[in-house]
C-alpha cells in the first residue's frame, strides 16, 4: 500500500470520526436546547391559556352567582312560570352565554324536579348539568364548578344554589353550561403550531392528535406527569399540563415536534454535506500530500538505482524546506561525493595498476612486503635513441604512449600487473599482488603476445618499433615501498634484475626467459636453450632460453 493511499485512508477515517462525534454531540445538544426552549415557551403559553380559561370561568361563575341572587330570578322561580324563567335567565345570562358561544345553555332544577332547560344545550350536557345542580342543592354549597365530558365534548358546568334569602330557603339551583373552547390557532413566535386540549377523566379532548398519541398523552397526564413526550413519527409532540385547582380536569397544551425534527434533518443533511465536502477535501489533500511524498521518493529511488549503475551525475530536486527536499539535497551531496571518489579512483587506476589500486583501496596493501613467487616481464624498444632522434618531445611522448597503450592492453589481457614505465621500458608482474594460477604461463603468453602485437602494429608502419622481452620467475619481495605519504607497489629481488638483464640481452622481437620460467611453464612451450649469459650482478653465467611458441591451451 502506498503512502498516498495510507494517508487517504487515515484522513477519511479522521474526517468521518470527527463528523460522527460532532454531529452526534451537537445533534443531542441542539435537540436538548430546542426542547428546553420549547418547554419554556409552552409553560408560558399554558399559563396564559389557563389564565384566560380561569378568567372566563370566573366571569361566568360571577354571572351565575349574581343571577341566582337576583330578586327577579327568585320571583320567577317562586312563581313557577317555566317560560318566564327561561326568558328571565336568557336575559340575565346573555353576556355569559354569548361569551361561552355555541352549545352554551343553562338548566334550572328544584330539589326534586327539573324546572327549565334552555334550548341551545345538548341533552347530554343538560343531563350532566341537572345532576350537578341537584348535587349543589343537596350538599348545601353555594356554588360548584365541574369540568366533564358531555356527549364526548368537554364542558364546564357552573352551578349555583338559588337561595330565597327572605325565607332563607333553597328554592332551586341554576347550572350554566359552557363548552370548553381554546383560542385557535395557537402559535409560538417561531411558528410552531400549538394545540390546547382538556384532559378529563383520563380522556384528552380537543386538539388534532391521532388516537394513539392522544391516549398516550391522556395516560401520562392522568399519572400526573408534568409533561408527556410522544415520539410517534407521524405526530411527534410534547404536551404540558396544568391541572385546574377546582372543578377537575387539566389544561393541556401540545406542541408539535415536527419543526424540531425538520431542524434535526436539516442539521443532518448539512452535516452529511459538510462531511462529504470534508471527505473530498481530505481525499484530494491526501492525494496531493501522497504525491508530494511519493514523487520525491520515487525520484530518489530512480536516482539511487542509477547511482548503483554507476551514473554519479544524477541529481534530484534538493530545493525546498521539507524533509524530503533535505533528503534530496543530502542525496545530491552523496552523489557528488561518490562522483568525486569515482574520479579519484580513475586517476588512481591510471597512475597505478588497477589491481594494485583495488588492493590499495581495499586497504590490503601495507607498507612493507612479503615474499612470493612472481613472474617479472621486461620489455623495451630496440634502438629507441635512433628512433626518437630529431623528433619533438611531444611526438616522442605520443609515440611512446601509443606503444605503451598497446603493450598495456596485452599485459592486462593476460592478467598482468603493469608495475611501471621507465622511458621505453614497461615492467609487468604476474602473481603480485595476488598469486594467481599459472602466473608463469600467463607471463609467457603475454611476452609472446607483446611480440605478436608489436609485429602486427609494425605492419605497414612508417617507423616499425622493435622490442625485446625478458622474463624471469621466482621468489621476490612484493610490497609497498617508499613512505607512508608517498609509496609505490612494486617487486624487488634478484629475479627482477635477471628479467631486466634478459630483456636487454634479447634480440629484437625475441623473448628470453630464465630457467625457472622454463621449468614453471613446462612442456607446453617450445624453448631453445641459449648459451649461458653473463649478467651484471650475477656471479656466474645464467642459464637462458628463448621462448618461441606456446600451446594454445597450456
Amino acid at each position: 500500500m502506498t503512502f498516498a493511499s495510507r494517508i487517504s485512508i487515515a484522513i477519511c477515517g479522521a474526517v468521518l470520526l470527527e463528523m460522527a462525534v460532532v454531529m452526534g454531540a451537537s445533534g443531542t445538544r441542539i435537540r436538548q436546547a430546542y426542547l428546553d426552549a420549547l418547554r419554556g415557551s409552552l409553560e408560558a403559553r399554558i399559563d396564559a391559556v389557563a389564565q384566560s380559561q380561569l378568567e372566563a370561568s370566573a366571569r361566568a361563575l360571577a354571572e351565575t352567582e349574581r343571577l341566582v341572587r337576583s330578586p327577579r330570578l327568585i320571583a320567577t322561580v317562586l312563581s313557577g312560570d317555566r317560560e318566564d324563567l327561561l326568558q328571565t335567565a336568557a336575559d340575565e345570562l346573555r353576556t355569559a352565554l354569548e361569551q361561552a358561544g355555541e352549545g352554551a345553555g343553562f338548566v334550572f332544577v328544584s330539589d326534586d324536579a327539573e324546572l327549565a332547560r334552555s334550548h341551545g344545550i345538548t341533552p347530554a350536557a343538560g343531563h350532566a348539568a341537572a345532576a350537578i345542580a341537584r348535587s349543589v342543592i343537596r350538599s348545601g354549597d353555594t356554588s360548584r364548578v365541574v369540568r366533564t365530558a358531555a356527549g364526548g365534548r368537554p364542558v364546564e358546568i357552573l352551578a349555583a344554589a338559588i337561595v330565597d334569602r327572605s325565607e332563607d330557603t333553597v328554592v332551586g339551583a341554576l347550572a350554566l353550561v359552557r363548552p370548553v373552547r381554546f383560542p385557535e390557532p395557537l402559535r409560538l413566535p417561531d411558528g410552531t403550531a400549538l394545540e390546547a386540549g382538556l384532559a378529563i377523566e383520563g380522556v384528552l379532548h380537543g386538539g388534532s392528535l391521532p388516537q394513539a398519541a392522544r391516549e398516550r398523552v391522556a395516560a401520562g397526564i392522568t399519572r400526573g406527569d408534568p409533561e408527556v413526550r410522544v415520539d410517534d413519527p407521524e405526530s411527534p409532540s410534547l404536551a404540558v399540563q396544568r391541572p385546574f385547582s377546582t372543578g377537575g380536569g387539566a389544561l393541556v397544551v401540545i406542541a408539535s415536534l415536527g419543526p424540531m425534527r425538520t431542524a434535526e434533518r436539516r442539521l443532518l443533511a448539512t452535516g452529511a454535506g459538510a462531511a462529504t465536502l470534508a471527505l473530498g477535501v481530505g481525499v484530494a489533500s491526501a492525494a496531493l500530500l501522497g504525491r508530494g511524498l511519493s514523487r520525491p521518493v520515487a525520484a530518489l529511488s530512480t536516482a539511487a538505482e542509477r547511482i548503483a549503475a554507476g551514473d554519479f551525475a544524477v541529481r534530484v530536486n534538493g530545493a525546498g524546506r521539507d524533509e524530503l527536499s533535505q533528503l534530496g539535497a543530502r542525496f545530491n551531496a552523496m552523489a557528488e561525493g561518490l562522483a568525486q571518489r569515482e574520479r579519484f579512483r580513475r586517476v588512481l587506476d591510471a597512475v597505478t595498476d588497477p589491481e594494485v589500486a583495488a588492493e590499495l583501496v581495499a586497504g590490503r596493501l601495507d607498507l612493507g612486503g612479503s615474499e612470493q613467487e612472481v613472474g617479472v616481464l621486461f620489455c623495451d624498444i630496440r634502438g629507441f635513441t635512433s628512433l626518437t632522434e630529431g623528433k619533438e618531445p611531444r611526438d616522442v611522448i605520443a609515440l611512446l604512449n601509443e606503444h605503451m597503450t598497446l603493450l598495456t592492453d596485452v599485459a592486462y589481457a593476460h592478467g598482468g600487473t603493469v608495475d611501471k614505465f621507465v622511458g621505453d621500458l614497461i615492467m609487468v608482474t604476474f602473481g603480485a599482488p595476488r598469486t594467481g594460477i599459472d602466473d608463469a604461463v600467463r607471463m609467457a603468453r603475454c611476452a609472446l603476445g607483446m611480440v605478436e602485437a608489436r609485429t602486427r602494429a609494425n605492419e605497414g608502419a612508417a617507423e616499425p618499433i622493435r622490442i625485446g622481452v625478458g622474463c624471469a620467475y621466482g621468489r621476490v619481495v612484493a610490497g609497498c615501498m617508499g613512505s607512508v605519504r608517498r609509496l609505490d607497489y612494486t617487486v624487488l629481488g634478484e629475479r627482477v634484475n635477471l628479467a631486466s638483464r634478459l630483456c636487454s640481452k634479447a634480440p629484437a622481437m625475441r623473448v628470453w626467459v630464465d630457467s625457472d620460467t622454463r621449468a614453471a611453464v613446462g612442456h607446453h612451450a617450445q624453448f631453445s636453450k641459449l648459451s649461458p649469459i653473463e649478467a651484471k650482478g650475477f656471479s656466474k653465467p645464467v642459464e637462458a632460453f628463448e621462448l618461441s611458441s606456446l600451446e594454445e591451451n597450456a
Binding site: 337576583s70 317562586l78 332563607d168
Partner: protein
C-alpha cells in the same frame, strides 16, 4: 286522607263539643245573634322564620342601614267567593318601603283593592311581582315619586320584591272575602261582622303553607278558637 282534612275533622268535632258542653259559649252565641253577625277570635301558629343570616351590604357609599325585617305573622280569612270590591271606592292599602324593608311585610286585602307603594327611603326602590294572581312591575322610583296604585284583582298570594334590594320581601294575600285579619306576632287575631253560617277559615302560615278550618257560626256568636297547634312540621 290529607293531614288538613284530618285536622279539620278533629277541630270540627272539638267545636261541636264546645257548643254542646259549654254554657258560656251558648250565652255568647245568643248575645251575638242580637247584632246578627258573628265574630271569630283566637290564636293561630306563627312560623318562626330564621332571620336571614347575612343581609348584603349595599355599599358603596352612601351606605345605609337596613332595618330588621318585621317579625313574622300569620294571616287569617273567613270564607271565599265574594265579588271583588270596587277599586274606585276602596281605600288603597299602603305598603311602605321604609328602612329598606316592606312595611307591612304581610298584608291581606280583598280582591279589587288598590295598593300603593310609597318609598320612604332616601334611595331608589322598585316594586314588582311575578306571582300569577297579579304580575306587575312599577320600575324604580324615589321618595315622593309615588307610582300609580296597583289593583289586586284576583285572589292568591302576591309576592312583592324590590329589584334593587334582594333581601326585601312582602307577602300580600289577596282574598275574595271581606272577613280577614293579620295576626299579631303571637298569632292572635280577631275578625268581626261575619255572616253567620258555615265557613271555611283559611290560615296562611307561609307562602308554602296555608291550612283551613271549618266553623259554624251562629248569629251574634263570638267564637274563640285555639288553633296554635295547627302548624305541621316546621318548614325547612
Amino acid at each position: 286522607m290529607t293531614p288538613n282534612a284530618n285536622v279539620r275533622r278533629v277541630l270540627a268535632l272539638a267545636g261541636a263539643a264546645v257548643m254542646l258542653l259549654s254554657p258560656a259559649s251558648a250565652a255568647d252565641s245568643v248575645e251575638a245573634s242580637k247584632t246578627g253577625t258573628a265574630r271569630i277570635t283566637g290564636i293561630v301558629p306563627v312560623l318562626r322564620k330564621k332571620i336571614p343570616s347575612a343581609i348584603k351590604d349595599y355599599g358603596p357609599p352612601p351606605a345605609f342601614k337596613v332595618d330588621k325585617p318585621e317579625p313574622p305573622r300569620s294571616a287569617v280569612w273567613v270564607g271565599s267567593g265574594a265579588a271583588p270590591t270596587n277599586p274606585a271606592t276602596t281605600t288603597p292599602l299602603r305598603i311602605q318601603q321604609n328602612g329598606y324593608q316592606f312595611r307591612p311585610a304581610l298584608a291581606v286585602v280583598r280582591s279589587g283593592t288598590p295598593v300603593v307603594f310609597p318609598n320612604e327611603d332616601q334611595l331608589y326602590h322598585s316594586v314588582f311581582s311575578k306571582s300569577p294572581p297579579r304580575r306587575f312591575d312599577l320600575g324604580r322610583f324615589r321618595k315622593g315619586e309615588e307610582p300609580t296604585a296597583v289593583v289586586m284583582d284576583s285572589p292568591g298570594l302576591v309576592q312583592l320584591f324590590c329589584e334593587v334590594h334582594e333581601h326585601m320581601r312582602a307577602n300580600l294575600v289577596v282574598v275574595d272575602t271581606p272577613w280577614f285579619a293579620v295576626t299579631d306576632t303571637e298569632g292572635r287575631f280577631s275578625i268581626e261582622g261575619i255572616v253567620p253560617g258555615r265557613h271555611v277559615v283559611s290560615i296562611w302560615l307561609s307562602p308554602k303553607q296555608t291550612v283551613t278550618q271549618e266553623v259554624n257560626l251562629a248569629p251574634g256568636q263570638t267564637l274563640e278558637v285555639n288553633w296554635s297547634n295547627l302548624a305541621q312540621e316546621p318548614t325547612k
